[in-house]
């Protein structure tokens, strides 16, 4: 049973400058008494009192300004940041796609990188080798798959990363905005694949500034603002509240288009 349950979770980042991070300060500070600033490092509350509950089949888009806490929320759902207060209970195999560059070695081939990426997501080498053909086909990289990763464009890297995460049948898929680098045609292909994946028993959480991508991938949306969830609801409603009527109309258009295409397929 795949589920994400978060209760009153907060993520506080201590901000260490050179002074608070040094042991000297921690040791001598107690003797000398406090001078000027507080002994404890100042804190940035990146997420505050988040409560949410997601279940199988949910496809949620996150909208919000830069620095609103979308990425931090995704990282919390991935289990990278365990909440400093509150609880986050994530049940299911998580596959995050945050930064395309991280965990990839530019000097080795796309093929080898596929395997490493898989290893990071808890797969074995054998399991990944079985999936190579399928991933190569999906990414449409062809012979490029044998080339070192540094020769790839950003979009090609995104294709590779998406190919890997979708091939390993994750139960919880977390996507950050970086995937916007792919072209529209590939996005369409990715959408069908992601939809199938989520239908097969999964959860998708996707943060993006592109309403088009949001409308293509998600069913509902959450507006993250100042580290809290300001609004949850249908994607059109949330976009209307966040960006206004014009944007909402655009979203509706895409939703209708998608529906038509799905029937057509």
């Amino acid at each position: 049973m795949v589920s994400i349950d978060v209760w009153n979770a907060s993520v506080d980042f201590p901000i260490f400058d050179a002074k608070t991070r040094s042991l000297k300060k921690a040791v001598l500070g107690k003797v000398g008494g406090k001078i000027g600033t507080d002994q404890k490092a100042p804190i940035i509350e990146a997420l505050h009192d988040i409560t949410l509950s997601l279940h199988e089949g949910d496809r949620v888009g996150l909208v919000g300004h830069n620095g609103a806490g979308k990425s931090t929320l995704l990282r919390m759902l991935a289990g990278i940041y365990e909440p400093t207060r509150g609880t986050a209970n994530i049940v299911g195999k998580v596959a995050p796609v945050f930064d395309m560059g991280v965990g990839m070695d530019p000097e080795i081939s796309g093929l080898e990188n596929i395997i490493i990426r898989g290893l990071f997501l808890g797969m074995t080498r054998k399991q990944m080798e079985k999936r190579i053909d399928e991933i190569t086909e999906f990414t449409e990289l062809g012979d490029y798959i044998q080339m070192p990763l540094r020769t790839y464009s950003t979009g090609m890297r995104v294709r590779l990363a998406l190919g890997v995460v979708t091939s390993i049948n994750p139960e919880i898929l977390l996507l950050d905005e970086g995937i916007g680098a792919v072209d529209a045609e590939f996005m369409k292909k990715a959408r069908t694949r992601l939809q199938k994946l989520v239908e097969r028993s999964g959860i998708l959480v996707f943060a993006s500034h592109s309403n088009e991508f949001l409308a293509q991938l998600c069913k509902t949306a959450m507006w993250v603002d100042h580290g809290t969830i300001k609004m949850t609801g249908g994607i059109e409603d949330v976009v209307r509240a966040y960006e206004g009527d014009d944007a909402a109309r655009h979203v509706r258009q895409i939703l209708e288009e998608n529906a038509r295409e799905d029937v057509h397929d």
């Binding site: 042991l23 990282r75 940041y81 207060r85 995050p96 991280v102 074995t124």
Partner: protein
Amino acid sequence: MEDSVIPEDSVIPKAVAPTRSLARAVEDIRQGVVQRELWLHLGWQDIKQRYRRSVLGPLWITISMGVTALGLGILYAVLFKHPLPTFLPYVTTGFIVWNFINGCLTEGMSTFITNEGLIKHLPAPLTVYALRTVWRQTLMFLHNLIVYVIMIAIYFSYIDHTYHMDTAGQTHPGLGLWSLSAIPAFFILALNGLWLTLLIGIISTRYRDIPQVINSLIQLAFYLTPIVWSPDDLFGSGGTDRTWAKVLFQFNPLYHFVQVLRAPLIGQHVDWWSWAIVGGITVVGWALALLAMRNYRARVSYWV
């Protein structure tokens, strides 16, 4: 956590233990070991990357070790008036073992700092990065072992029977089947490298002065540990009574770590208490590392 308001209709599944629990720390380590294909690969990749596009590749590890060991060995053999055939294998082997310990310490303390990008982007157990570091050091050690093999091949006839390094020195049993105890000894050393990496790695991530402190002490530790000199040198060959020195250098735990691995490799006498001390430190160290993992495992991603 206790006083948080929970919606009435929901039940918190008990599947996941609280963040700060021993169960989670142990699970991290267990999961890290399970994902061995990952760190085995990453460790290799580290070595290959360092020597990419060089003709000799990782063989440079071996060459630089050989040159250093030969230089140091000859220099100190002349300074302390030791016979080269027994002293050179001693210095070489000691230096190789030291390099492993030194590597685990200096690269272990910055493990989480250097893996910052991965830690912030992929939810892998912390232990994976610690194992990556220790495995990389193990690979370096294996490369250096080539120098040892060459050295032993040259001087084998001098140390395959009972021998003295110095006329007034200790009697050594010489190489034999018992030399195989080097294998468990290395395993124990690696096990210590792992707890050290986890513990010092966590502390150094929080307090960035610690790596500087360790860096400034490590050179001193090298000279205080019998590597380029022998305990025989302390035992008053000049007629002066230096019993205090005999006792004092035994308080250096690094000596015992070097000794349990070096002695069997070159057929030297090893005191039983060396093993006892190494065993004791292994247990205490792991207890401390588990405690650090229990309390601060989840903080590392916040601190890096």
